[in-house]
């Protein structure tokens, strides 16, 4: 759901192996923001898939049983926002367990920012006051993770330090780079932009941490001309 760039969306739709996959959007981390839901339906139109979304703030208006709806999907897309609020809300509705069930049943799970961090056991989340904070995710993937790795000041440094001191080995993903896991192992890193970067960071043999830059496969020429985001244009 990047502005004017469908490469990552096309990639996850292709992963399903289904001609018209069922895709459910969970905008929980944004507080189910209207504009985000609209953006999802624009990015995942009915011509390409069967889109739906679940609003956990308006349960009386949506699908009756979120668990069975999630289990019937080919792809679940989790939007960004506040990781802490996301996890708390999910637990209150049993969505955490439903997502694990869906994952084990072969439903593809994907998302950006908080929607990426949530799958890991340990994360560095910046979506609150003060410096980035360590937050435990759902733990489907037994790794640590940091996002906006090169774009947000201090995020990479904080992650290197956290892995060196207490967090397990894991992945730092820059914007437009996506970590593709099969089971709990990294299959490859793909990107929607040339030059997008990602790293594997492990505790060092004598303390500290060691960072390995990962190969990134650029997914090709964007189908649509890339237009700058309305907010800041990252260098």
């Amino acid at each position: 759901m990047e502005w004017g760039n469908t490469l990552l969306d096309d990639f996850v739709l292709g992963l399903s192996g289904v001609k018209r996959p069922k895709v459910c959007f969970l905008p929980t981390a944004s507080g189910d923001a209207d504009h985000y839901v609209v953006r999802f339906y624009r990015a995942f139109p009915a011509s390409a898939c069967e889109p739906s979304h679940i609003s956990l703030f308006r349960r009386e208006t949506g699908v009756g049983d979120p668990r069975s709806h999630l289990l019937s999907q080919d792809l679940i897309y989790v939007g960004g926002g506040s990781l802490v609020s996301l996890l708390g809300t999910w637990r209150a509705h049993g969505i955490d367990d439903a997502l694990r069930e869906a994952w084990e049943a072969g439903v593809i799970l994907c998302g950006g920012s908080a929607g990426a961090l949530c799958w890991f056991s340990h994360t560095l989340s910046g979506f609150h006051e003060g410096p980035a904070r360590e937050v435990d995710g759902l733990g489907l993937l037994p790794w640590s993770c940091a996002v906006h790795y090169h774009e947000e000041h201090g995020r990479r440094e904080g992650f290197l330090e956290a892995v060196g001191e207490r967090m397990p080995a894991g992945y730092g993903a820059g914007d437009s780079a996506a970590l593709h896991f099969v089971g709990t192992d990294l299959a490859e890193v793909v990107s929607s932009r040339p030059g997008a970067r990602a790293s594997f960071v492990a505790p060092g043999p004598r303390g500290g941490s060691v960072e390995h830059e990962l190969p990134v496969r650029y997914l090709g020429t964007p189908a649509i001309q890339v237009v700058p985001e309305p907010e800041a244009v990252a260098a």
């Binding site: 809300t89 209150a92 609150h128």
Partner: protein, 291 residues
């Protein structure tokens, strides 16, 4: 406001004095206030929130957590409180990374907290993650007025009846106040039977059911009075009768200055909200299809 017949002119709102040495006060509304303009055409309850602080220029912070911090509610809050003698602010737990506010410190620096309605289950889960529930108790004990409607009213009690799971169901609150509360007594008819049954069976302790525009005021843990922004807004006391049913009795309600006449308040007339708001609401509720 514009649509309603004003029974008494808006003026200074003087709540009865609390017992000496009792700083704790809670205003729990069945509905109404600035987030529900279709159901409350008076600003009396919102004025009353400020009056309860006893401050000339109180700091009042709005928490729209239960609705996911929608922009619409934030805008309405500033429209209502922006011109009044107060220091309004909004605490969005979904945007802490953007706003760079320490939520607990901000809460504890206020004179009044105004909690919006929505999903009580989500609100309490998110509050727990951010340590807000503990901050609320601390703030209450220090004399910060805790006010709110719907989910933001029931949360102070042991429990209430919430639509958080789709259908009305018992949801437990923070429990600063003993007893229970059910809201939107007049606005959402499906809640009361669930509430009555829960109280009758002991799933919820006895408590109150309040109309939109009606509120219960607690000093410490005791009911001080019931107030209303509309002449026909009710508060009912609901208790188990011991043989599987309930005993219900209306509580006396004090009409606030600036309250409107319920018989002529026009709550069933078409709303006069600007074009697009209903559309956004429907969209928010997931009733639109874009495909």
């Amino acid at each position: 406001m514009s649509d309603g017949h004003v029974v008494r002119p808006a003026g200074p709102v003087i709540p009865p004095a609390p017992p000496a040495g009792e700083p704790r006060r809670i205003l729990a509304m069945g509905g109404g206030g600035f987030t529900m303009p279709d159901h409350d055409q008076s600003d009396a309850l919102d004025r009353f929130v400020l009056a309860l602080t006893g401050k000339t220029v109180p700091r009042v912070c709005f928490l729209p957590t239960a609705s996911g911090d929608p922009r619409e509610q934030v805008t309405r809050f500033h429209e209502r409180f922006g011109d009044w003698p107060c220091e309004p602010s909004v605490l969005s737990l979904f945007h802490l990374g953007r706003d760079r506010i320490d939520p607990v410190a901000h809460i504890l620096s206020q004179d009044a907290l105004y909690i919006g309605g929505g999903s009580m289950r989500n609100m309490l889960a998110i509050w727990r993650e951010h340590g807000i529930d503990e901050a609320m108790r601390t703030g209450w004990e220090r004399g910060i007025v805790l006010a709110g409607l719907s989910a933001g009213a029931m949360c102070w009690f042991e429990g209430g009846v919430s639509m958080s799971g789709g259908a009305p169901e018992v949801v437990h609150g923070i429990g600063l106040l003993s007893g229970s509360l059910s809201v939107h007594l007049d606005g959402e008819s499906e809640r009361l039977p669930v509430y009555e049954q829960a109280v009758a069976k002991g799933a919820l302790p006895p408590g109150y059911a309040a109309d939109d525009g009606a509120a219960v005021v607690f000093y410490g843990t005791n009911l001080a009075e019931c107030v209303a922004s509309r002449t026909d807004a009710r508060v009912m006391r609901v208790a188990a009768d011991g043989v599987g049913g309930t005993i219900e009795a209306p509580e006396p309600v004090r009409l606030l200055p600036g309250a409107v006449d319920g018989g002529r308040s026009g709550i069933d007339e078409p709303s006069h909200e600007p074009y697009g708001v209903s559309e956004m609401r429907a969209l928010r509720a997931g009733r639109h299809r874009w495909d």
